[in-house]
Symmetry: C2
Subunit: 329 residues, 2 copies
């Protein structure tokens, strides 16, 4: 019924090995033989069974992607970058959503390993010790993208969130706005704590103690952003640095509803840089994180790891810039 390599071999009057060779571009095949085999392949409309191939070769040309939520613009931008590069190198990707749930994360990892993926990419996520342990024992190449995790020895690609936060806060402080609220989203605790350190450093350099001024709130989506607006007012904040773009928009609209002038009374800078920030009015100032590139570079790194090529750094840091738009003075 389904045509196999054996059928092709028989029809072409060669051995399976030869068919396999032309399939895999092995140069040790006489051109005429190659042509003969190719003709039969076309005639029979033969398509190699990738599963059998995977079992025999121990390579599946598929990589797993573990992602908090594909419908989040931040992650889907990363995913797109990553898939484009994967396609370029002839890898397919299996995507699993975890909603940051450690159980789901571990499950996803184990599933992928049992599917014999050649490599795994983590986007965001917290990587609890269970998974860390699994990574260790499974010996699958893993890279972490855009989560700010750089404390362990797993290859990763990020921007320098510490510096970004420091720069943003520094600019704000220099302009005299010291009552900053950092609005976290729970994407990555590690990244967020790095950013807090950066901000405190900015205070320090300006001669202030960050603890006297900086406060923290949590809001990961639009509704939550609107919700916390009151608190920002109550605490006399005059600037927010917010991880989630959607939360930033929520805050923006919360401000509209309260009749608060922005950026005069409250400045907003977001940190995810999805295309949302330029699709609202006023346009939101943001840290220009190269989302697509983060994914693309991560996948490129993974291809090298899977090929056992030498890599100079397993911790790559992409440049970022800061786009001051209309929610900052």
């Amino acid at each position: 019924m389904t045509v196999t390599i054996y059928d092709v071999a028989r029809e072409a009057k060669v051995s399976m090995a030869t068919v396999s060779r032309v399939l895999n571009g092995n140069p040790n095949v006489k051109p005429e033989t190659r042509k003969k085999v190719k003709d039969v392949i076309d005639r029979l409309n033969y398509r190699p069974n990738a599963v059998a191939r995977g079992l025999a070769s121990k390579k599946t040309t598929t990589v797993g992607v573990i992602i908090p939520d594909i419908s989040d613009l931040y992650y889907s931008a990363l995913a797109r970058g990553l898939e484009d590069i994967a396609e370029m190198y002839n890898y397919q990707i299996i995507i699993t959503n975890t909603d940051q749930d450690p159980k789901k994360e571990r499950n996803a990892f184990l599933n992928l390993v049992s599917k014999q993926v050649d490599g795994i990419i983590f986007l965001g996520g917290k990587l609890n010790s269970d998974v860390l342990q699994d990574i260790e024992t499974s010996r699958v190449p893993v890279v972490i993208c855009g989560s700010g995790e750089e404390d362990n020895d797993i290859p990763n690609v990020n921007i320098n969130y510490y510096e970004a936060a420091k720069e943003v806060a520094g600019k704000l402080i220099a302009d005299g706005t010291k009552n900053i609220c950092f609005v976290t989203a729970g994407y990555s605790r590690y990244q967020e704590s790095r950013m807090i350190s950066g901000m405190k450093e900015a205070y320090e350099e300006a001669g202030f103690n960050g603890d006297d001024y900086l406060m923290t709130e949590d809001a990961g989506d639009y509704e939550k952003g609107k919700e916390i607006f009151g608190k920002l007012l109550d605490n006399e904040r005059d600037a927010v640095i917010v991880i989630s773009d959607e939360a930033a928009i929520g805050i923006l609209h919360g401000g509209h509803e309260h009749g608060v002038a922005m950026p005069q009374r409250l400045q907003i800078i977001s940190c995810s840089n999805t295309r949302l920030v330029t699709m609202v009015r006023p346009k939101i100032s943001s840290v220009a994180v190269p989302l697509y590139d983060l994914g693309a570079v991560g996948m490129r790194l993974l291809t090298k790891l899977m090929n056992e090529e030498e890599v100079d750094t397993t911790s790559v840091e992409l440049p970022y810039s800061i786009d001051y738009r209309t929610t900052t003075r």
Copy 2:
């Protein structure tokens, strides 16, 4: 090195067949034997090789998803719904982006088939005859989600875009605004032509000839939406029905820049219903397409198809509603 079913069998002093049985929940295993085997599995930390399993059983518990662009909010919402259900039924999903390119689409399909996926879901896309042919010959269950394709006999799930367009246009016309522009996005020509039919029917029912009033423009993203705003003005449009939410926002902002009052001078209704429509001001009226459900129901349908269960309809139509917000009068 890697522990196989054979190792488990040896350690548990049973045959591979028995181990396989406990692995697959076959009831024909004495409880004590089952326990013994399970203990060894835990002790050795054995994980079945899904590739070998796939080769032997001809089932891979993975389904392919062919999608125009995962970073498009519309598709990623569908994808999320679909993946949630897939996870529920223990399927993994391989995602491929095609940018609506027929070549890429065909390639993706062929790749998935060679990976022996148990089923394939198409989101959007045009399904040219090549692919249609491949679907025919490969005999893989396929379902199409949210693309409005219902002209062929491939199982699909959609809303009734014809009715939705008719309803929206009808309301507009009844209110006296007849100069409508339908802004397409090229997502699905078929869906768009169905919608045009619906709109014309609405004119008809109101006693007008749609051809005298209806015009069409194309804009699939924010920038394009802003760009075409001039044309809308030049053609004295007083309402737009637009496929892409981002284009709708572009038009909205184009209006702001031209100082055009909305909805007084121009009404906007979008048709994708991503969460963007409520994240801009004014909020955009839209056809409330149940994106997540479209994906979820599609995947559920596919699981039935893969199980060779009886399905009553292979063409399911989900209900929709229309949310009149602030860009309509």
